[in-house]
Amino acid sequence: MNRRQLLELGGAALAGAGIAGRLFAAPLGGPRFLLVFLRGGYDSANLLIPYSSSFYYESRPTLAIARPDPTSNTAALALNGDWALAPAVRESIGAMYLQRQVAFVPFAGTDDLSRSHFETQDSIELGQPTGGTRNYRSGFMGRLSETLAGAAPGNASIAFTDALPLSFEGGTTVPNLSLKNVGKPPFDDRQARILRDMYAGHHLEPAVSAGLELRHEVAQEIADEMTAANRNAINTKGFELEAERMGRLMRDKYRIGFIDIGGWDTHVGEGAAQGTLATNLGSLGRGLQVFSQSLGSEWNNTVVVVLSEFGRTFRENGNHGTDHGHGTVYWVLGGSINGGAIAGEQQRLARGTLFQDRDYPVLNDYRAVLGGLFRSLWGLSPDQSAGIFERTPPADLHLI
């Protein structure tokens, strides 16, 4: 039985089990969006390598990744005359780039200059004008969800996290569930029905039903995984496994998703073609590839943005690592984007063009980049765009 048949059968079976089919009713079609937040400030200069810049090689005596060389699997993969890709993601993101399903936006970031993880993650997730009073009850993903819920019903959002992230603060309640360590379903159908019945007529009834249903659904996904594993399907683990589950949930039910991944704060012993950063990038790249595959044809309707609070220093430090920087590289992925491109404002990398003689400058404001993608994806009006990112006009990077 495939997933689709199971769902069709499930409609009746689940109704019989007393688990509401509310979320299953979300109509298919229409864009989907996943935000991947790399917490800790990943070293973008060792993901998207400015290989035409000799300054890069001077600045990173032990961390630089070798210039493109088809005969070496520790060399970078050339994307154009200036930029190349880390070998750790050659098989995953590199392959997708060649299929025009990946684009990069270098010199991206925020005008928040604190260089504090804490401050900058918050300010990005809130997505409000920098420098004003912060409203901690209003994140940009929350405002996006609100806008879309008003414009087109059935745009359900989900955070694949233990707690609801700041980005989703405000507006309607967004379900959250980390898919990292999901065990067996805690309740059988009878117990779930009894729990739900206890809240019949209560104002929490929708949340209780949705929560039990989501948990049931995820347990079902895991059962499917085991079946698939028996058929010698790819045996995924770690983030790949999580990403596969995310892909299936977003294919079937959710349009807007959020996931965060830690472990990018490489002050010490960062590594180059191999090492800490390469391992993390490799896992992320394979996970995103698995995510795209598990979405099936819905991948053509999906856009993923990978971002981080800031980039790192262009020069390596005294501990074979890099410190907190400013501008970074965003990734944009999707089955039908105008990928295979390095998008946005750019400039030549040399010592004189570094920001404060240490970091990538920010030429592409995160609000403008994301706002532009949202506008293209959902055809938002200027008022709707301004409601999500106040006072930042959307930028069109021609990716959608």
């Binding site: 918050d122 609801l164 007529g201 209560h202 929490l204 209780v208």
Partner: protein, 553 residues
Amino acid sequence: MQARTEELGGQRATASSVITVEELSRVIVRARPRGSPVLPGLSAILLLSACATRTELQTPTAAQQTHATATALPVLHRSDMLWLERTSFGLDSASVAEYRRLGREEFLNRQLHPQTSALPAPIAAEVGALEVAHADPAQWLGAVNAQYKVINAMPDGPDKEQARKTLNDRGNKLAYEAIRRDLLRAIYSPAQLQEEMVWFWLNHFSVYQYKPNLRWLVADYEERAIRPHVFGHFKDLVMATLEHPAMLQYLDNNQNAAGHINENYARELMELHTLGVGGGYSQQDVQELARILTGVGVNAGDAPKLKPELQREYLRRGAFEFNPARHDFGNKMFLGHSIEGRGFGEVEAAVSLIVAQPSCARFVSRQLATYFVADNPPPALVERMAQTFIHTDGDIAAVLHAMFMSHEFDSELGGKFKDPRRYVISAVRLAYDGRTISNTRPMLNWLNGLGEAPYGRPTPDGYPLSELNWASSGQMSRRFEIARAVGGGNAGLFDPEDGSAASSSGFPQLSNRLYFEAFEPFLAPHTRDALNRANSQQEWNTFLLSSPDFNYE
């Protein structure tokens, strides 16, 4: 929100608040888990009820007579149970007995003025044996900073990694000890309101253990900055947090110096701690307060070398320091008053000005009422509390007394959704009713999973106080899983903390005397139905702890 409360109240009000013996015996039979024997404690009640006539029990119920003394005891109504739940981390037999003995007013007075050694002996011994109960964090901090310096100078390699890990592990152990102490006190202290207020103020003056150095300091912050002042004058509380290295480090005031202004703490001190957004201060006031706060910082090492004329302005208490060499001695204009540049005296003057603002009284009163009364507290109540605050010079106990004895508090009972902390602690209190758990890690895991870990709020605004933030679908289903873990008895609460082999502890009997007195008579019909459909005691426990009746107070 009002409509929700009414709806809920309507649902729960179907049970009368005074029950008859006949009703009691009926519900006992109905609520008994199917397939399980009549619970031993209940047979006596059933026997008694069989020969009772149908009269309203104004004084002792049958249940009470089997256990209590012969003296006539007042019957407790639903409003009493809810009042007691709201002013504590949930009911246990001891708190119900104490409330019954003293009555509401006297009970509250004792809660507002708790005895110093209120903890039961085994818990007091447990808490006293923790390392955080003895060591001096000012000295730790000095040693830790010195060790990190040594480690950073080591050549890269396994030795360096090992040294770093050893030091980090110790910091994590101390932060966990702080959490363990906090949870044990919250479960077992008879001074429940004190424990609630410790949490409330810790959350109001929130710090985050994962900011560098903070995990070494959180235990001391709770113990010395918060706990002594929870019922005292608000200004003392503000000053105690202002003079604690944890707060100064967390909100970066240790980096705030003349010519290198860092406004972070100055802003949050007004926005989050005292006046609230829109509390009548300007950006200019933030800048001026930041100047006033220059030189207020942390020093765990040697005192700085100062010019003789500055030496008498230097202050040092533990790792707290006022360094006049970093202070901006110019005059300031703050909240419409001129403050003459003179050193730390400016800080005390500024805080006095802040806490005397009516907006401070209103903001603090509203936060208290949001946590204890309703997500949108009645404005008239907030205003009365604020007036009490103003007339008593910020006497927190007086403000709380006004709140808990108000008719608004009574009329909001039953409509407040427990945040994860109240939920987890109240579940353990009800399930194990005074029996000492050995392992607090499962509770920490639950709080992590529900998003309200102690000292775990990254942002300085503290955890939210309203239902909206805690009752999402994912949080509800996780809550039910926790209900199952507590109710099923396999949660690991009785495993040794050191991870050694555990012995089986069995599952709790939630259908106990406390339940029949405090919950059973008032259950919503849907909850009653669910309990009747339970196939085992464990399942029955799970349903009760998952019910709206248990999740609202």
